[in-house]
């Protein structure tokens, strides 16, 4: 939201427009939540109106009244559409996102559905590393990569290890406290892929098998990483496992309020 200049303010020289993507993102989430709940109510209004109309074939006046209710619901639907547009507009804004927190959320989200015999390990050295991202963008990336690994290790079982660290720590080239390049790795001990599949795996509709989903997951991941200005590569060996390496430039450390 931008701070607007107050026309009654005697000295407005100190007021400067402020871009607050975090506030925008929260307002967007609120608008989306209200629209979601209203759409549920409107569905019920449509539903009972439709049912009432079925029984009103012989009562044209009453049927007309029900149609007016449907007309009012149509207008309410237009309002919720506008709210959702507002919500989506805000959802496209990038905000600082703490990467390790997104990983925690992802694992908490997926853990109840992970079959027995599959372990997920976290090795995080860059605990306070942030990247600028659209809310949910990294969550989607992590969720897809985790689901991909879980599917590759089902039913045999295995271990997914997720590491988050600075490339500077790996290369030994530090520049102050900055973490210019964040390195995130998802490494599993699943079925693995042959060279041909590795070359195609980030293309849409390429999958290890029909039972493993639509094949859209990794293409979505690659698109999201590209949007962040990063890269993703895969290395794999059939029967041994696969590792996905993500490099995101422009990471920074901080203690910002949690919002991802």
């Amino acid at each position: 939201m931008s701070a607007r200049k107050d026309k009654n303010q005697a000295d407005n020289s100190q007021i400067t427009p402020v871009n607050d993507p975090v506030a925008d993102s929260r307002l967007g989430a609120l608008a989306g939540g209200i629209a979601h709940d209203l759409n549920t109510v409107i569905t019920t209004i449509y539903g009972y109106s439709e049912m009432a109309l079925e029984g009103l074939a012989d009562s044209p006046e009453a049927a007309e009244n029900v149609r007016r209710i449907i007309g009012a619901a149509d207008r309410a639907r237009m309002l919720t559409r506008q709210l959702l547009d507002l919500s989506r507009q805000a959802a496209r804004e990038k905000v600082p996102v703490r990467v390790a927190a997104v990983l925690d959320d992802t694992i908490d989200f997926i853990r109840p559905s992970v079959p027995e015999g599959i372990r997920i390990l976290r090795r995080v050295t860059a605990h306070d590393a942030y990247v600028n991202a659209v809310p949910d963008q990294l969550f989607r990336v992590f969720l897809n990569l985790t689901m991909n690994a879980v599917q590759a290790m089902t039913p045999k079982g295995g271990t997914l290890t997720v590491t988050i660290g600075c490339r500077e720590d790996e290369t030994g080239i530090h520049q102050g406290d900055q973490c210019r390049e964040l390195h995130i790795r998802f490494s599993d001990t699943g079925k693995g892929m042959d060279k041909a599949l590795q070359q195609e795996v980030f293309k849409p509709f390429v999958s290890a098998g029909k039972e493993h989903g639509t094949g859209l997951g990794l293409s979505v991941v690659a698109d999201a990483i590209r949007e962040l200005g990063g890269t993703i590569t895969v290395s794999s060996e059939p029967g041994v496992g696969s590792a996905f390496d993500i490099i995101i430039p422009g990471a920074f450390f901080g203690t910002l309020p949690e919002k991802h």
Binding site: G32, R77, V220
Partner: protein
């Protein structure tokens, strides 16, 4: 007749969908959230699950994953008031998790019933 499970936290909409489906002679099991749905799910009875996505307790995405684990042939229709657009939308995620159909609220019950019939044919 085929069995349909409705998972919806809004009680008015839940009862509306129950009415609409029972009128078409489907056996209906209703649940107010994902947790209740998983407790009530009977593979021998339920052929199709209609689930809202944003719910307290276990959400709809979790319902899809867990029910598919229990009975992979279960058909799933995801419904949500959050709309279809946006890469992070719940409906898009439900689709990626393998929902057979996604319907954005608000919708007409006849539209949903038609989709149920189509998927169970």
């Amino acid at each position: 007749m085929a069995g349909v499970m409705i998972v919806e936290d809004d009680s008015a909409l839940r009862e509306l969908l129950r009415d609409a489906l029972e009128k078409r002679k489907y056996t209906v099991i209703a649940a107010a959230d994902g947790k209740e749905a998983l407790a009530k799910f009977r593979p021998s009875i339920v052929d199709l699950v209609i689930t809202d996505l944003l719910m307290p307790e276990e959400d709809g995405l979790m319902v899809i994953m867990k029910i598919r684990e229990i009975k992979p042939s279960t058909k799933v229709i995801a419904i949500s008031g959050g709309g279809m657009a946006g890469p992070g939308s719940y409906l898009m995620m439900a689709s990626k998790l393998g929902a057979d159909a996604v319907i954005s609220k608000p919708f007409l019950p006849s539209e949903l019933v038609m989709k149920v019939k189509e998927l169970l044919e």
